[in-house]
């Protein structure tokens, strides 16, 4: 891998670069304890992630994690939609961390998959799909990863009861008397 000769950035410069490029897309930016938090809408995720990875000044090589959030009945003005998917990236070159929160509406719970940019996003996206029912467009293999394939519910949604809806008692395919 070739050495990146571009000088290192700090968080302030990173915000400036991002604001120049995505002034209309970024809803909120905040630097807090060595972490840049960005709020965006789900439609802009692919542009921003591609820029973060491919721009030689930013050079966010490492994809860290994806997680989902359900903000049902959440009393806070900064929450714009019911769901959000949170992406964390890290830049070795600049020693910077960025957390992107992409809001997703309840009616259209889908977002573009970033697994074309980061291979490691494949399974975390499947996990979010499994737990929250958020559909990732253009994902290579979008199916449940933790729950059984015929589970039929998204257990980490806030309106899903802790004890489930009877899934743990239903085993139609495994009957000991069958043989």
């Amino acid at each position: 891998m070739e050495v990146n000769s571009v000088p290192e950035l700090g968080y302030e410069e990173l915000v400036t670069i991002l604001q120049e490029k995505f002034a209309h897309q970024i809803i909120k930016d905040e630097i807090f304890r060595d972490l840049l938090n960005l709020d965006i809408y789900s439609k802009d995720i692919l542009d921003i992630v591609a820029f973060l990875r491919d721009d030689s000044r930013l050079d966010f090589q490492l994809f860290v994690d994806i997680s989902g959030v359900d903000y049902l009945e959440y009393q806070d003005d900064s929450i714009l939609e019911r769901f959000a998917v949170i992406y964390i990236f890290y830049s070795f070159h600049n020693n910077l961390r960025i957390k992107i929160r992409a809001f997703i509406s309840e009616q259209k719970a889908e977002i573009e998959s970033i697994s074309q940019f980061y291979q490691g996003a494949n399974w975390p996206e499947r996990e979010v799909y499994d737990m929250y029912g958020i559909h990732f467009r253009n994902h290579p293999d979008l199916k449940r990863i933790l729950m059984p394939e015929d589970f039929g519910a998204n257990p980490l949604r806030k309106d899903y009861p802790l004890q489930g809806r009877g899934e743990r008692d239903r085993f139609p395919d495994y009957n000991l008397e069958k043989e």
Binding site: L146, M147, P148, A153, P155, Y160, P161, L162, Q163, G164, R165, E167, R168, D169, F171, D173, Y174, L176, E179
Partner: protein, 161 residues
Amino acid sequence: MGIESRLGSYFTTKLDKIVNWGRKNSLWPMPFGTACCAIEFMSTLCSRFDYARFGAEVIRFSPRQSDLLIVAGRIAIKQMPVLIKIYEQMPEPKWVMSVGACASSGGTFDTYTLVQGIDRFIPVDVYLAGCPPRPEAFIDALLFIQNKISQERIQDKIHGS
């Protein structure tokens, strides 16, 4: 039909005794360990508690070679079909030990993902209380199963009841 009609009842009772003596003193456990109960079972096997004193030290990780299924730990609903498959693969006669609160009742995990007691899906011979149970409880459960075996009759198994 069956051996009891061709031979006298005296002979079959003695045969029961001999076969049961052999079965109860050479139980081969198949550990299905998914949580801390399995760690406790390991210590039960080791020299301080020494399961081998009761003839149950030959751990087989193949269900086809064992006759005592030890379900030690919580069983998720995705795992229950696997456990049922393993139970079905074990040759008769077979016995099942449900170890600890989670396998017996779901324990503290009263959630959407956990089976609330394996006895909803496979027959259980002995339940061990505890979270996890002490090694003494494992020994007590084994003695319970040995006692149960010694009261069985071969003709019950032959007739498939």
